[in-house]
């Protein structure tokens, strides 16, 4: 499971936890998140996230 961080606001997407608020189930891999999904905190798109660590 990996974590990805928004380069703009620092919000972290943890694949293990998913983001149920937007219907993304725990365990959802980054590449399986829809391309039009955006950062819940600041609204930038997937392309503005960077992988921060491999757990």
């Amino acid at each position: 499971m990996k974590k990805w961080q928004c380069v703009v606001c620092g919000w972290i997407y943890d694949e293990a936890e998913g983001w149920p608020e937007d219907g993304i189930e725990p365990g959802t891999k980054w590449e399986d998140i829809p391309d039009d999904w955006v950062c819940p905190d600041c609204g930038v798109g997937k392309e503005d996230f960077e992988m921060i660590e491999i757990g």
Partner: protein, 384 residues
């Protein structure tokens, strides 16, 4: 112009570094020289409103030093260097007596804070925060202090008010408007933010202005136009930003509210581009993150040989007031329509629709802020 002249990017804020990153995604070798008047730390300006909430010092909000960015992006970077002119006919940038050749020049030098001319002798206690170095100086000055007064109730004033309260400081906000974020939020949504911040302990002094700032011991006494006086330790001036245009205008580039560029980010001078807070893109001056990220992606493609126009989608703005989460997508200027407001305490859903019922803008606070993504998808893009 020599074949080896680099792409020169002036400014290492979010715009400048985003552009360099986008170029490097496609081309590792193209020579890039970045120039900045500050220390070249990479940081995201919106995070400066979150230091206390996240429990971070100024430098912990930074993402990388200048040296790390040079390594990561394979660029040349000159810090503490102030550009003094542009000779676009010669494809040269002026730094004092030095002339520096560019193949393409990108102006990403941001905006200046507006400073008010206020009577009194306490101006050394007044801070404007528009970059990491400003923020670092403010945090140093704040050590051992407990009271902060903020002039201005715009987005930045509100975000700092919330963040400083989260840090345990006594906060007063003074502004001439009758609510917060006028021009950005419709009044019911703005009033929800005022109510939530008031509950957090922020003292609001609206519909008045600071007339005088006097030293009072180690602190400052503020005399307001409504007759009130306030004692505080430090003052933040957050009364707005103005795109930096002077140097561009002096070089003969077309300027208006910002440096005028078309959707390909081209200024009126050949091979000179502008990006971010200094740019007026196709008539839009949007000092927010989403537009500049869209612009830097388009411009990277253009600089690598494929002329590309930016297409602005909807541009919702998230206001970082955790006590009252707020998102807003202002309707276009001159749009015809009406606000329809639903309100349940601090939870406000304000929708701007035209006569046909098309959603052209929205503002949502509190629990309704969660609806921002769904609403943003409904609003037609700026460049349809």
């Amino acid at each position: 112009m020599s074949e080896q002249a680099p792409i020169v990017i002036v400014g290492t804020g979010l715009s400048g570094f985003s552009l360099a990153k986008e170029i490097r995604k496609q081309d590792r070798e193209m020579p890039i020289l970045m120039i900045t008047a500050d220390d070249g730390f990479s940081y995201s300006k919106p995070m400066l409103s979150t230091g206390f909430t996240k429990g971070k010092e100024a430098d912990e909000l930074a993402q990388a030093t200048a040296a790390a960015m040079v390594e990561q992006l394979n660029i040349e970077l000159r810090t503490h260097t102030t550009v003094t002119g542009i000779d676009s006919a010669a494809h040269q940038l002026l730094i004092g007596d030095e002339r520096l050749e560019y193949s393409k020049l990108v102006l990403a030098w941001g905006a200046d804070v507006i400073r008010l001319d206020i009577a009194g002798d306490a101006h050394e206690h007044v801070y404007s925060i528009n970059d990491l170095m400003d923020y670092r100086a403010f945090r140093q000055a704040l050590a051992g202090k407990r009271r902060v007064a903020i002039m201005g109730a715009g987005l930045i004033g509100c975000e700092f008010a919330n963040d400083l309260r989260n840090g345990g400081y006594e906060v007063d906000v003074i502004a001439p408007s009758d609510t917060v974020m006028p021009g950005l939020l419709p009044k019911p949504a703005a009033d929800a933010v005022v109510a939530a911040l008031t509950d957090e302990g922020v003292g609001f002094h609206l519909e008045t202005v600071v007339e005088q700032l006097d030293r009072a011991g180690d602190g400052v006494r503020l005399s307001l136009a409504n007759g009130e006086t306030l004692e505080t330790d430090l003052v933040i001036s957050a009364v707005g930003l103005r795109p930096r245009t002077e140097l561009a205008a002096a070089a003969g580039l077309e300027t208006a509210r910002g440096i005028v560029v078309n959707r390909a980010l081209e200024t009126s001078a050949e091979d000179v581009y502008a990006l971010g807070d200094c740019a007026e893109v196709d008539g839009h001056v949007l000092l927010y993150v989403l537009p500049l990220m869209a612009c830097s992606r388009a411009l990277a493609k253009s600089l690598l040989g494929t002329r590309t126009e930016v297409a602005y989608g909807t541009m919702p703005v998230m206001v970082k007031t955790p006590c009252c989460p707020t998102a807003v997508c202002p309707p276009p200027v001159n749009a015809e329509g009406d606000w329809q407001v639903e309100q349940n305490g601090r939870n406000v859903r304000a929708l701007f629709r035209d006569a046909e019922g098309t959603l052209l803008g929205f503002a949502v606070t509190g629990d309704y802020a969660m609806e921002k993504q769904a609403l943003a998808k409904e609003v037609p893009p700026i460049h349809g």
